[in-house]
Amino acid sequence: MPDPILQPASAVAAWTPVATAGLSIDVRDDLTIAGIAPFRGKAQAVSEALAERYGLALPAACRRISGDDITLQWSGPDQWIAIAGRGAARDLEVELKPLLAGLAAVVDHSDARAVVVFSGKHARDVLAKGLPIDLHERAFRVGDVAITHANHIGVTITQTGNEPAYEIMLYRSYADSFADWLRHATAELTA
C-alpha cells in the first residue's frame, strides 16, 4: 500500500492568529532554516560564497540582512542562520551543504525552531510583558537581532519592519508554553 504523505504539524497546537487593532501575531510554519557555522578561519570564504550565490554577505554581530530569496541572521559568536520560505520543497540544508562544503558546518534547523511574527503599534506593549530588553527604536532598529528570553523561554528576536514588526524564534518544544503566555499577555488588547 502506498504511504500517504505525512501532514506537517504547526509548531503551536491549536494556534489562532491574533489580528486586532494595532496588533497582529502569527506563527510561521513555512520556513526552511539552516545553521551556518564556519570552520576555523573560513568565515570570509563563507561570506564570499554566499555573496556570490545570493548577493548577501554574512551580517555583523546582532544583525540580520535580507535579500530576494534568503535572509541571513547572526545567531551567536561565529554562527549564523539562513532563513527562506520553504515553498514547494526548498531545503536550505540541502542547498547550502554543497555550497559551503569544507567551509562551514551546515545544520538543518527548520523544525528545531518555532517562529512567531508580531506587528502593529501594540507589538512592543505585548513583548514588554515577557522580554527584558529595550525595543524602543532608539535602542533596537530594523535588522537588529538580540538573544534574550521571554517568559523564562530562550528566544532570538529581530526587528523586521518599521510598523514595528518583530520576529521571535524559539525552540520548538517550548512553543505551546510560549503561546500560552502570549494568550495571557494579549488578553487586554484582544478582549
Binding site: P2, D3, P4, I5, L6, Q7, P8, A9, S10, A11, A13, D29, G35, A37, P38, F39, R40, Q79, D91, A104, A105, V107, D108, H109, S110, D111, A112, R113, A128, K129, L131, P132, I133, D134, H136, A139, N151, H152, I153, Y171, R172, S173, Y174, D176, S177, F178, D180, W181, H184, A185, A187, E188, T190, A191
Partner: protein, 993 residues
C-alpha cells in the same frame, strides 16, 4: 453621632457627589462618593473606630490619609479575594465594597482580647524572648499557636487567588517617582526636552499634597494647574504616566520596581485584566519626588481614634469634603498649625485650641489664631481621655496650670520626614538636617536625584523650582538639552519648626510605633537592658518592623533613644530601609508563573496524541514524556506497563524518544574532540555506524552515556540522556571554547529538529518496512545492528535511521523533521496494528533496561565510576580523555567499591525496593555493615517476578550469594540472590536478529 454621611461637608473636595457608592463595614451599610477612599467614606459616615491594635487590641482609628497608615488596616473584599491589612486610607471606594475590621472578637467596640492591655507589663519589649524561652518543646505546640491566635492581624483568603498578575519591563531616560508639584515639574522639564519619561504616582490622581491643600499656582487654583500639566504630559508620546503605581524598590544601574494596582479600584478585575502588574523600570536617570510623611507627636493615649495627623485632617477637609471631627485641638511644633487652623475654620469645625510646643509662636501664628478666635497655648498636650475615641485632652502650658479641653479631634504635627526610602535601597544613609529637624537624603546612587519635599523643599514655590531643575538636569544627563522651563508663580508658605518629639510626664501609655504597638516605655526598657544601637532596639522592640516600615514612628523613636543614651540624633543614626517600600502581593511577584505555568513545558512529538488518548505524562526536567498508556480494563500502572513490555518482547512497540539530547559535531577535528570527551575508543568507528559511549567528569566519575553516530568523515551525531542534554552540551562548549580552542570543530544542538521514535521488538523490521520508502534496504545484512544512515520515509520525507536498542530487542530509532513527528507517530501506530503493536512509555522502557542491565539515572548518579557500573572495560588505554587521570585515584579504583550486580528475591513473590541497603545475611543491619544499595527495581513481566540492579561491595565476585535487602524506611527486610545484571538474552542475540 453617625448618620448618612453626617460628616460630609456641604461642598468642596475632589469627590464626585453625583456618583454615590454603597459599601459595608463590619456588616453595616454605608454610602460614599466616587473619589473617596474607604477611610474618607468611613469618616464621612462618622465611623472613627476602625480596628484593634496588633498586641494590646487597643481601639484604633484613622491616623493618616495616605500609604503610611499604621492603624486603619482592614480586611478588604471577601471569599477568595479577601485581603487582610489593607490600608483604608489608600483603598479606593467602589460600589459594593465589603470591609471588615481586624483583630477583634466578638465586635470592634467590645473586644475581649483587649484584656491584653491590662497585661501590658507582660507584653513588654522582647516579650517573646523572655516569656516563651522555656521549655523548648512548648514553643511549637503551645506558645507559637497561642501567639499566632492572639496577635495575628487579619485573615488571609483560604481559597486560591482567582486573579491574574503580570510583569512588564519598561525603559526610559528619566523616571520620576511621585506626581506632586515637584514631580510634575520634573516630568514636564524632562519631557519637553524630548527625553522619554515615566512618571509614577501611588494615588489615582496626580497632584500629591496639592490635592489636599488650598494652594494657588499661577494665580489660580492648583487643581487647574495640575490639569493643565497632565494634559500636556498626556499629549506627549515620550511620556508614560503610571498612576495607582507605587515604586517600591531601587536596584543597581537605574533598575527600579513598581507595583501598579490595575484593578484594585474595581470590585473584581474584568476577565481580561490583571489585578496588579509589576513594572521593572530601567531608567538612565531617576528623580525621587516622593514627597514627605508627617510625624505625630508622642503623648499619652496618642493612639486613640480621633488623634490624626494635621496634614491628614486637611486632606479629609480639602480633598474629600469630610469633617474628621466636630471640635478640634491642633497640636504642633511647626507652622503647619497655621494651615490646619485655617482649613478647620473654613470647614466650620470648631477649634478648641492651637497648642504650639514652642516657647513662643511666630507672630503670624498668633495673628492667625486671633483672626479665627482660636485660643493659642504655648505648651503641650499631655494626654487624651476617652476609650473608644478622643473625648478630651489634658493640656500643660509652659506657663500656668494644666487644664482639660473637650474635643473629638486632635490634629497633630511634629513636622515632616522626606520620603527618603528609595534613596537608601542601594545602601546610602540619610543625613540629619538641624534646620528641618529630620533626615534628608544623603549620598545618592549614581543617576539619582531628589527634589521637592523629598529633598526637604517643603514650601510650594521652592518645591516646584527644585522639580523643574531636577527634570532639566536629568534630561541633560541623558543627552537631551533644552532651555530650563519657567517655574510657575506660587507662594512659599512658612515652614519653621522647633524640634519636639515626646511629651514627658504623661499619665497614659504613649505610642511610637502604632502598628506594632511599641510605646515609649518599650524603648526605655530596651535601653535599660543594654540595647543601645538603633538596629538592636528595632529588633528587640519590633519598632519599624510592621508593614508600614515605621514611616510615622521611626524618627520619633530615634529621637527618644538619642535622648535616653545622651547622644545626638545623627549619632544615633537610622535603621536601613529595604525593599519593598510597600507590601507587594506574592502573586504579583509570581506574575504568569503559577500553577501549570509556573515554568515552561517542553512537549515531545507524541504529546497531543498522548493527551487525547489518556496517556500518563511524567516530567523529566521541563519535558513532559509519556510514561505509560493505560487501556480500558487495566487496573493499575503495573498492569499497563507489563502489557507494554510484553508487547515489545513478543511483537513490537513504539516509544517517543524525541527528548533525548542530540548534538551535531562537525569539522576537521570532530573526532579529536569526541575522543577527548568520551572515555571509550571512537577512532575505529566507521562512517554509517553508531557506538555506545560514556563520558566522564573531570573528577573521573561518570557524567553521561549515549550514542555516537558517524554520518560522514567529519560529521558525527551524538545523543545524550534527556536529563543531561543541556549539561553535556555545556560541557562540550566548555571543552571547545576553553580547553581546546585550537580544535576546528563546530557543534550545534539538534534535539529540537528531530522527532525520534524507538521501534522495538521482534517485528520491528516488519513495521519499519511499512514506513521506510522501498528504495532503502533495511534487511539485517544491509542495515545491521549499530548501523545508521539517512533514508526517506512515507514518500520522501527526510529520515535518519539508527539501529540501536535500549530494550535488548531488535530495535531501531527513526528520526524525522519535528513537524512530521505527530503524523509519523500516528502512522506507526496504525501500520503496527496488524502486527500487534502498541505505544510504550518511559516506564516500560525503564523495566526493559533493568531486564537488560543497562544503566540509567539511578546508576548515573554522580557517585559512580565506569567500573562501578560494569563499563570499566570500555575505558580506552590508548588515549587521553577528560576524567582519565583523576579517575585513577586510589579511591576510584578500589576493588572494594560497590559495583553493579543483578538481584532477585529468593522468595519470588516478594517485591524489591530501590533504596534498600545490602547487608550480609548474618550481619546486623547497621551502617557499619552496609555493603551497598539497590539502585533500580522493576517487576519483570518476562520473568514473572521483581528484579533489581544494585551497587554491591565486591559485587561481581559475589554472584550466587544470598544477602539481605534492608529497607528501614518501609520496614522491609528481603532475602535476595546476587546474580549477573543481565536478566534477558545475555548473549544479545535478539538485538542482532
Amino acid at each position: 453621632m453617625s448618620g448618612p454621611q453626617s460628616n460630609r461637608l456641604a461642598s468642596g473636595g475632589g469627590i464626585d457627589r453625583s456618583r454615590a457608592l454603597r459599601f459595608t463595614f463590619d456588616g453595616r451599610s454605608y454610602s460614599g462618593f466616587s473619589g473617596d477612599t474607604l477611610a474618607s467614606a468611613l469618616l464621612a459616615n462618622g465611623v472613627r473606630l476602625v480596628g484593634r491594635s496588633f498586641k494590646y487590641h487597643r481601639p484604633r482609628g484613622i491616623l493618616s490619609a495616605g500609604s503610611e497608615e499604621p492603624n486603619a488596616l482592614v480586611e478588604l473584599r471577601n471569599g477568595a479575594r479577601r485581603e487582610p491589612n489593607t490600608r483604608a486610607t489608600t483603598a479606593e471606594l467602589f460600589d459594593g465594597l465589603v470591609a471588615e475590621s481586624q483583630n477583634r472578637w466578638p465586635s470592634l467596640a467590645l473586644d475581649v482580647m483587649s484584656v491584653n492591655s491590662l497585661l501590658a507589663p507582660v507584653f513588654v519589649a522582647g516579650f517573646y524572648y523572655k516569656t516563651f524561652m522555656w521549655p523548648a518543646a512548648f514553643w511549637e505546640k503551645l506558645y507559637e499557636p497561642m501567639i499566632r491566635r492572639a496577635a495575628g492581624l487579619g485573615r488571609a483568603a483560604a481559597e486560591p487567588d482567582p486573579d491574574s498578575y503580570e510583569k512588564v519591563t519598561a525603559f526610559c531616560d528619566v523616571l520620576v517617582i511621585g506626581g506632586g508639584p515637584a514631580g510634575l515639574m520634573a516630568a514636564l522639564a524632562a519631557a519637553r526636552s524630548g527625553a522619554s519619561v515615566i512618571l509614577t504616582d501611588e494615588s489615582f490622581a496626580l497632584g500629591g499634597r496639592l490635592l489636599s491643600e488650598r494652594a494657588e499656582i499661577d494665580g489660580g487654583d492648583a487643581n487647574a494647574w495640575i490639569a493643565r500639566v497632565r494634559d500636556e504630559l498626556d499629549a506627549l508620546a515620550n511620556v508614560r504616566i503610571l498612576t495607582r503605581t507605587t515604586l517600591f524598590a531601587a536596584y543597581d544601574s537605574g533598575t527600579c520596581a513598581a507595583i501598579e494596582r490595575v484593578a484594585d479600584h474595581l470590585a473584581a478585575p474584568p476577565p481580561h485584566m490583571p489585578r496588579q502588574r509589576i513594572w521593572r523600570i530601567i531608567a538612565k536617570q531617576v528623580i525621587v519626588t516622593a514627597g514627605a510623611t508627617e510625624r505625630p507627636i508622642v503623648f499619652g493615649n496618642n493612639d486613640r481614634p480621633g488623634v490624626m495627623l494635621a496634614g491628614a485632617v486637611r486632606s479629609y477637609i480639602n480633598r474629600f469634603g469630610v469633617a474628621p471631627g466636630r471640635r478640634a485641638v491642633v497640636f504642633a511644633n511647626n507652622d503647619d498649625g497655621c494651615a490646619t487652623v485655617r482649613d478647620l475654620a473654613s470647614a466650620g469645625i470648631e477649634i478648641a485650641a492651637l497648642v504650639d510646643t514652642r516657647a513662643s509662636s511666630p507672630q503670624y501664628i498668633s495673628e492667625l489664631a486671633a483672626h479665627h478666635g482660636v485660643r493659642l497655648v504655648n505648651g503641650v498636650v499631655t494626654d487624651v481621655e476617652g476609650r473608644l475615641g478622643v473625648r478630651s485632652v489634658r493640656i500643660r502650658p509652659h506657663a500656668g496650670a494644666p487644664f482639660t479641653l473637650d474635643c473629638d479631634l486632635v490634629a497633630v504635627s511634629s513636622g515632616w520626614n522626606p520620603n527618603v526610602q528609595i534613596t537608601t535601597h542601594l545602601g546610602g544613609k540619610p543625613r540629619w538636617s538641624d534646620t528641618l529637624a529630620t533626615f534628608v537624603p544623603g549620598e545618592l546612587p549614581r543617576g539619582m536625584s531628589v527634589a521637592g519635599a523629598a529633598a526637604g523643599d517643603y514650601a510650594l514655590h521652592s518645591s516646584l523650582a527644585s522639580g523643574a531643575r531636577a527634570g532639566h538636569t536629568a534630561a541633560e544627563a541623558t543627552g537631551f538639552s533644552s532651555p530650563p522651563i519657567d517655574t510657575p508663580r506660587a507662594d512659599d508658605e512658612p515652614t519653621s519648626i522647633a524640634a519636639f518629639w515626646h511629651v514627658q510626664g504623661t499619665r497614659h501609655k504613649a505610642f511610637v510605633d502604632f502598628q506594632n504597638d511599641v510605646a515609649t516605655t518599650d524603648i526605655a526598657l530596651a535601653e535599660r537592658e543594654g540595647y543601645r544601637s538603633i538596629e538592636h532596639v528595632k529588633r528587640y522592640t519590633t519598632l519599624g518592623m510592621a508593614t508600614d516600615q515605621g514611616r510615622t514612628g521611626s524618627v520619633n523613636a530615634i529621637a527618644i533613644l538619642a535622648a535616653l543614651t545622651d547622644k545626638s540624633i545623627p549619632e544615633t543614626g537610622v535603621t536601613a530601609a529595604r525593599p519593598p517600600f510597600t507590601p507587594v502581593a506574592l502573586g504579583a511577584f509570581a506574575g504568569h508563573h503559577r500553577g501549570r505555568t509556573f515554568k515552561p513545558e517542553r512537549r515531545p512529538a507524541s504529546y497531543d496524541w498522548t493527551k487525547a488518548n489518556a496517556g500518563v505524562l511524567v516530567e523529566t526536567g521541563l519535558w513532559l514524556r509519556p510514561a505509560y498508556f493505560p487501556r480500558a480494563g487495566e487496573r493499575d500502572w503495573l498492569e499497563s506497563v507489563s502489557r507494554e513490555v510484553a508487547t515489545v518482547r513478543s511483537a513490537v512497540g513504539i516509544c517517543d524518544v524525541s527528548t533525548l539530547g542530540k548534538i551535531n559535531v562537525q569539522g576537521p577535528d570532530a573526532l579529536a574532540l569526541l575522543e577527548r570527551l568520551y572515555a571509550n575508543d571512537l577512532a575505529s568507528l566507521r562512517v554509517g555506524r553508531a557506538r555506545y559511549g560514556v563520558m566522564l567528569r573531570e573528577d573521573g566519575f561518570l557524567m553521561d552515556d549515549g550514542t555516537i553516530a558517524r554520518l560522514d568523515e567529519q560529521h558525527y551525531f551524538v545523543t545524550t540522556t534527556t536529563a543531561n542534554a543541556a549539561k553535556v552540551y555545556q560541557h562540550m562548549q566548555f571543552a571547545l571554547q576553553w580547553l581546546w580552542p585550537e580544535l576546528d570543530v563546530q557543534i550545534a544542538s539538534a534535539t529540537e529538529q528531530w522527532a525520534q521514535f524507538a521501534i522495538a521488538g521482534p517485528r520491528a523490521r516488519e513495521l519499519l518496512r511499512e514506513i521506510i520508502d522501498a528504495a532503502h534496504d533495511i534487511s539485517n545484512a544491509a542495515f545491521p545492528y549499530l548501523a545508521v544512515g539517512d533514508v526517506t520515509c512515507c514518500g520522501g520525507i527526510k529520515t535518519r535511521l539508527y539501529r540501536l536498542s535500549f530494550s535488548g530487542e531488535l530495535a531501531y530509532e527513526i528520526g524525522v523533521p519535528a513537524r512530521f513527528g505527530p503524523a509519523l507517530w500516528q502512522r506507526l501506530l496504525l501500520a503496527g496494528e496488524p502486527l500487534g503493536a502498541c505505544a510504550y512509555g518511559s516506564e516500560a522502557l525503564g523495566v526493559m533496561r533493568i531486564e537488560k542491565g543497562h544503566i540509567s539515572g539511578p546508576e548515573l548518579n554522580g557517585t559512580t565510576t565506569a567500573a562501578d557500573v560494569g563499563l570499566g572495560a570500555m575505558r580506552s588505554r590508548k588515549k587521553d580523555y577528560i576524567g582519565r587521570v583523576l579517575g585513577e585515584r586510589p579511591g576510584l579504583v578500589d576493588p572494594a567499591r560497590p559495583a553493579l550486580v543483578g538481584l532477585r528475591p529468593v522468595e519470588r513473590a516478594q517485591r524489591l525496593r530501590a533504596g534498600a541497603h545490602f547487608i550480609a545475611r548474618t550481619a546486623e543491619a547497621t551502617a557499619a555493615n552496609d555493603d551497598g544499595y539497590m539502585t533500580s527495581t522493576a517487576f519483570s513481566p518476562s520473568l514473572g517476578h521483581w528484579i533489581g540492579l544494585g551497587l554491591l561491595r565486591h559485587g561481581p565476585q559475589r554472584q550466587g550469594e544470598i544477602i539481605r535487602a534492608v529497607d528501614p524506611v518501609r520496614g522491609e527486610d528481603v532475602l535476595v540472590e546476587v546474580v549477573a545484571p543481565v536478566f534477558i538474552d545475555a548473549r544479545g542475540e535478539r538485538l542482532r536478529a
